[in-house]
């Protein structure tokens, strides 16, 4: 029950494609969640996504005890009290949902990462190399070339009876390859299945550098695609767990880390410094 003494924590995850906010309560319960596109302008306007999340939680901003920004755009959140990498925040969020996780793979809009987790703590990680191959962007580009909706790709891939081999080294080359497969008269579902397999293969190879051990959790926007989940399982030869809202683990972890920081400080009689509770857009020149 919320009382005057209740504390609230916000996590904001500014990803390359989507911005996510989670507002959590003292017991780690999620009070509100918002997902919005990051975009060129929206990156400056992280405050709007936060405003929406606060409205949903029915809380004024000054009731939030601690705000952590994470994700690729974390440095553009002027109202955040602290910045923590998405590596640590995703681990935290994933562990809160799957305490036995040992390997987590997050495939976002423009990057992919593998997290090695032991006893609920991040111990090592790998990230993809500045390239869209092996990320959600790869799927977007292919959906566009095939005039398909991104959301339909996954289920379409499951209809394939003869998965085609598509090279996984470059998004731009893959697009050309898809066009040539189409002209050869190949079935769209077989091409799409090949694309899913190409991404999964690339990401799994990267994560193998960490030594993959179960439980394995898949997060990020790409985890919403059932075809990708299957392709990952095929490549990993193991079942993967997917949270109900795979986009939100970073923001959730950020909110929960804020709770940890505040409680840890309070236990030693300290108060953490916080930023003025003013929501405004990021300025590049101050």
């Amino acid at each position: 029950m919320t009382t005057e003494n209740s504390l609230f924590f916000a996590g904001i995850d500014v990803g390359s494609t989507m911005t996510k906010v989670v507002v959590a309560g003292m017991d780690g319960e999620i009070l509100s969640r918002v997902v919005g596109p990051t975009g060129a302008e929206h990156r400056r306007l992280a405050n709007l996504v936060m405003e929406e999340a606060l409205a949903k939680a029915n809380l004024p901003f000054d009731r939030i005890s601690y705000v952590i920004a994470t994700g690729y755009g974390r440095i553009n959140v002027p109202f955040a009290d602290r910045q923590v990498t998405e590596l640590t925040c995703h681990s935290k969020g994933i562990v809160s949902l799957f305490p036995n996780v040992r390997t987590a793979i997050d495939i976002g809009g423009q990057d992919a990462k593998g997290l090695k987790i032991r006893d609920g703590k991040l111990v090592d990680f790998v990230m993809n190399d500045r390239c869209a191959a092996g990320t959600g962007r790869f799927l977007e580009v292919i959906a566009d070339s095939l005039s398909l909706k991104l959301d339909d790709l996954g289920s379409l891939s499951l209809k394939s009876t003869r998965k085609l081999s598509i090279s996984n080294t470059c998004t731009v080359f893959a697009r050309v390859e898809v066009a040539s497969r189409l002209s050869e008269g190949e079935a769209i579902e077989d091409i799409v299945a090949g694309i899913h397999d190409a991404i999964a293969n690339r990401v799994v190879k990267m994560a193998q550098r960490l030594g993959i051990e179960p439980d394995i959790v898949l997060t990020g926007g790409v985890a919403k695609n059932i075809g990708m989940v299957r392709a990952m399982e095929d490549n990993l030869k193991h079942k993967v767990l997917v949270p109900p809202e795979p986009l939100l683990t970073g923001a959730l972890g950020a909110a929960l880390l804020g709770k940890d920081f505040v409680q840890k400080a309070a236990a030693s009689g300290q108060t953490l410094p916080i930023k003025p509770r003013k929501l405004e857009e990021a300025r590049f020149f101050t």
Binding site: Y72, T85, L87, L122, V123, F125, M127, D129
Partner: protein
């Protein structure tokens, strides 16, 4: 309020870092000759003894490579491409000559391509051997004789025994001073930051050896008594291993995410200064030995596999990387960043073995590869910050 006392030495170092050729251009106006050298292997004592000013050739990661692609492949070390690029743009025109060595494959090719496209009065290619056999040291000494002769015929002056001994003394003095400076990174917090250290070393490599020694003395005495403006205590104390770094941007990233950079193993860093030249009857013996056997860069093969009959991977790793464990202990390091410039094969080949070694001795490590471009540092920031968070 107590006025902040600014270190004269650090200020001068920063000035030189920002405008590297300023001092050598003044010296040129006084009639001195300035010779550019690339990386660890050109024997600086011979230049100093020939009354030439050695000037380290660095790239510029803030300048997009636009001209070098016409004469070097794009899939080679961007640091060396950058040197070629700014050379083609005339930024090394003030040099009276260059000395390049067989530092790595691309370095060797660069030496020849440079000579084709950029016409300076003097140039020499030092064919430094790549292995540590006795015969290689002999071969190296022969190369140094050729280099010495070439300098003498170019300047018209003999490099006397006395001059060479004096130059060895001066350069060894510089090495000792740099080690003294590095000792100031041992306390927690360190007395001098990684960014400041890099500025001091780049400045030192841009001026004559005696002036470099004066600068180092000034910095050391300033820093020893500094009361403010020094680094803060931070959770992580890191060591940076890897390819070339000649810009403070990457170190700034490291030092902005909760870490102090307290030790390194890079060219513009400990590699150039942590081994002395032994004084030998024929000075070329000491020089040939130091520059081949003592310098630590993976361009020289030094595994025990070459001489041991029985293969022992861990023993091999200990021989190649044991010094890093000593550095980590002496500088109280709790994490190591392995950094390579994209396409730096010689450092890239070392990474799997080095990680095995560091894991075996319990030193946490993270590997980052970068494009030698200031614009591409954001993903590096996330990796390094993530590593510091993992260190806890």
């Amino acid at each position: 309020m107590v006025a902040r006392v600014e270190s004269k030495g650090l200020k001068r170092a920063k000035e030189l870092y920002q405008d590297r050729p300023q001092r050598v251009k003044e010296l040129k106006a006084e009639g001195k000759k300035v010779i550019g050298y690339l990386h660890l292997y050109p024997v600086l004592e011979l230049l100093t003894a020939a009354d030439l000013v050695p000037y380290a050739m660095l790239g510029d990661m803030r300048e997009p490579i636009t001209k070098a692609d016409s004469c070097l492949p794009t899939i080679v070390c961007p640091f060396l491409r950058s040197i070629m690029d700014i050379g083609l743009k005339g930024r090394y025109d003030f040099l009276d000559g260059v000395v390049m060595a067989h530092m790595c494959e691309v370095g060797e090719k660069l030496a020849h391509v440079w000579r084709t496209y950029i016409h300076l009065p003097y140039s020499f290619f030092l064919d430094t051997p790549h292995a540590t056999y006795d015969s290689a040291v002999k071969q190296h000494k022969e190369q140094l004789k050729v280099f010495k002769k070439s300098l003498e015929s170019s300047t018209g002056k003999e490099i006397t025994l006395e001059k060479l001994r004096e130059a060895i003394k001066l350069h060894n003095e510089q090495r000792a001073l740099v080690r003294e400076l590095y000792d100031l990174r041992k306390p927690d917090p360190p007395l001098i930051s990684g960014v400041e250290t890099l500025q001091v070393l780049i400045a030192t490599m841009s001026i004559p050896v005696e002036e470099g020694n004066d600068l180092l003395r000034q910095v050391i005495s300033d820093v020893k008594v500094r009361r403010d403006g020094g680094p803060e205590k931070k959770p992580a104390r890191l060591l940076l291993w890897g390819s070339m770094i000649d810009d403070t941007a990457l170190v700034e990233v490291i030092e902005s995410v909760g870490a102090n950079l307290v030790m390194d193993d890079i060219w513009v860093g400990s590699s150039a200064y942590f081994s002395d030249v032994e004084v030998t009857e024929d000075p070329l013996d000491g020089l040939a030995y130091r520059y081949l056997m003592k310098l630590k860069c993976p361009r020289t093969f030094r595994g025990s596999a070459a001489t041991d009959k029985k293969r022992d991977y861990m023993k091999d790793l200990e021989k190649r990387f044991g010094y890093l464990r000593d550095y980590a202990r002496d500088w109280n390091v709790n994490g190591i960043i392995l950094e390579t410039i994209r396409y730096c094969d010689i450092h890239g080949y070392e990474v799997p073995g080095l990680r095995d070694y560091l894991d075996s001795v319990g030193l946490p490590n993270a590997y980052v590869e970068h494009d030698y471009s200031e614009a591409a540092l954001a993903p590096i920031r996330t990796r390094i910050q993530g590593f510091v968070e993992v260190l806890g």
